[in-house]
Symmetry: C2
């Protein structure tokens, strides 16, 4: 059996980051990975401007009652300041040539004759935001590799950038084999089960920003499986499926991948989990997750996800635990040989975080994964008594 | 001035959750809010089935060398077990009537005559997953109000559900006023600035699952602003804009909202932030954020976001801080009267989290918000010395 760390390292080494890029409009860029740094092409602010609503003047020429020679709203182009006068000015408006300070309106009083007097003397530079103070032309404002969030997009807009160069989405083809599988919404005959793996895997891939090529349920024959693999390899960067890769299974996935490419098959020392396959079909990577939905889901979270992230040019989620938090449960029958990823929920009780356990950890259905918001990794043989402090791995769903 | 808590409570009280629902296909349901609980319509597993690849038999009838009377792959419908025989069975396959135990294949040996002998005696019930063990028909498997994640969708699929009833998306209309505003990609004349608020606000709303109705830049006149407000109120649940709501501004938003509906205008005791407006135009809520992008962004994160979440039927982000973590910076000039939300980044140094500060907290551009991954709230007058333990509010972008 392969340890969890060995499998993760091995997979990550084989994840070749995408190189292909595309241009996207700003409003479609959230969540995409920046492929080239963004450099500022202008100074921000583009001109010295007022930090306040008030009056612009030349500090050395302040007098007791000053005429207002012009009005400068934001967006206007001021004239040179007339000697001995002030300009009415608003936040963000350019400072008129000749002015070197702004007095805020709260410190000003207007007389009947329209002249303005101030309760404070002006100091040169006061309440002026300088050109280039925030961003200088040429400065890198967003680094390559960054996953773009709303603030990044707003920042790019503020220097006039219209499109961004991002990595194209990773294309992942999925298919599901097993003549017992039925799509939801159809009636279930004896011996049949609903295909649940498609419905957690495709959304999980979409959440990672992947383009999903969904080949649906493939008939349980070697020929049909080989054909699905060839179609998938033509269209996708990565092919994923659930099931069909453990010893003795009534399935043709293993033989089909070996016939169309190459396959490494592992027994992992993790629970739930165990069978995991990695292969190549043409240029495409193949990842075979366990067929049991809970095993597949957990293996996706802790192993396949990291592979896909690196492959897509995303930063790899570090599996850095939070906490530790006290266990609100006992775990008395640990697995002697495998690391266990138990499904837990972090709850706040009397102002303190603690971890609750989904009671049926052995189940093959996704109740535990839907209920949980995190995992706790237990080492082989590790039991838990109520109150033990446990590191908590949040699920990213 | 209104405190942060007062403003948040006041806004949340006015956020009327959406009632309108719609049906969505499973694969389009991730991130949507479930409006009705999902009840199981069938038992899972639907029949007693094998937990192992192996041999099904009647425990009381085990003998030394047993003939194999049938083969039961997953998805097949087995016949009643012939007396004195075993059935070859695979994981997930239904248990043949008459059998009550499964012996795993690793404990079986096949002789030349095709009979099978076992290294262990079978115990009734062993390696059998019982019908309804994971989910019973009628059981609530997903509660109303849940934000659907991939595991939830997989779980719904596993009981055959084809569509889910979710709240319809919240419709938010945005517009931006100011004759100095220019869209990115166009040349900038003297006195003009790029409209950055549109480009962080629209993606932030989309990330919350809102349907954004983007009215773009509205001409700086009372008539145009009133017309935009009427259009927005016809189409949207909530109208949002940035700027135009503080005292003395060269803008018509305040007057236009008052003319078309009603407006409450506050000075908040937070920095960055300060002006915030809430009003009604027809049936629509109006939220006016500060025009400075950093103030607008922070106010959105800590105040408007909670309003929108409750309005959309989402759980309200609790602003529960993580940590505390040590400060890797000094903060020597606190604001005496306002709570400050400073932009920080959580970094791991030698295996310990610490908080770094973006150096230019006073800037109006979004560099600090793009750089940061969290906020620290400082109380009025609170200074920070390197090493002080500070609670950390992760930004949700």
């Amino acid at each position: 059996m392969l340890s969890f760390e060995q499998a993760r390292d091995w997979l990550l080494q084989r994840a070749q980051p995408l190189a292909a890029t595309e241009q996207v409009e700003l409003l479609a860029a959230a969540g995409r990975v920046l492929a080239e740094p963004v450099l500022a092409t202008l100074d921000v602010p583009p001109h010295d401007n007022s930090a306040m609503d008030g009056y612009a003047l030349r500090a050395g020429e302040q007098t007791a009652a000053m005429p207002v020679s012009q009005r400068v709203p934001a967006g206007s182009v001021p004239q040179a300041l007339a000697a001995g006068s002030v300009a009415r000015i608003f936040t963000g408006a350019p400072i008129p040539p000749g002015a070197d300070a702004v007095i805020m309106q709260e410190q000003a009083e207007t007389a009947d004759d329209g002249t303005v007097s101030f309760s404070q003397p002006a100091c040169a530079g006061q309440n002026i935001r300088r050109r280039g103070e925030d961003i200088r032309a040429g400065q890198e404002i967003l680094p390559a590799g960054k996953v773009l969030n709303p603030a990044d997009i707003g920042l790019a807009a503020s220097i006039g950038v219209e499109t961004l160069t991002v990595f194209r989405p990773l294309r992942v083809a999925v298919f599901f084999t097993g003549d017992e599988l039925v799509e939801p919404g159809r009636p279930l005959a004896a011996g049949q089960i609903y295909n649940s793996n498609r419905y957690w895997l495709a959304p999980a891939l979409m959440r990672l920003g992947c383009e999903v090529i969904d080949l649906g349920i493939v008939r349980d024959s070697l020929g049909a499986t080989r054909e699905a693999l060839r179609d998938a390899a033509d269209a996708a960067d990565v092919i994923m499926t659930c099931g069909g890769v453990s010893v003795g299974e009534e399935d043709h996935v293993k033989a089909a991948v070996e016939a169309e490419g190459s396959l490494d098959l592992w027994k992992l020392a993790i629970k739930p989990g165990k069978p995991l396959a990695y292969g190549k079909v043409g240029q495409a990577d193949f990842i075979g997750l366990p067929g049991n939905p809970v095993s597949g889901f957990v293996t996706f979270q802790v192993l396949a996800r990291a592979f896909l992230e690196r492959r897509a040019g995303l930063p790899v989620s570090a599996l850095t635990p939070e906490g530790p938090y006290p266990a609100a449960f006992d775990w008395t029958r640990p697995d002697a040989r495998r690391s266990e990823f138990i499904r837990v929920r972090r709850v706040c009780v009397d102002g303190r975080w603690q971890l609750e356990l989904y009671p049926q950890q052995g189940s093959g259905v996704l109740m535990s994964c839907a209920w949980a918001d995190g995992l706790v990794r237990l080492e082989p043989g590790q039991a838990v008594a109520r109150g033990d402090m446990l590191p908590y791995l949040p699920l990213v769903q």
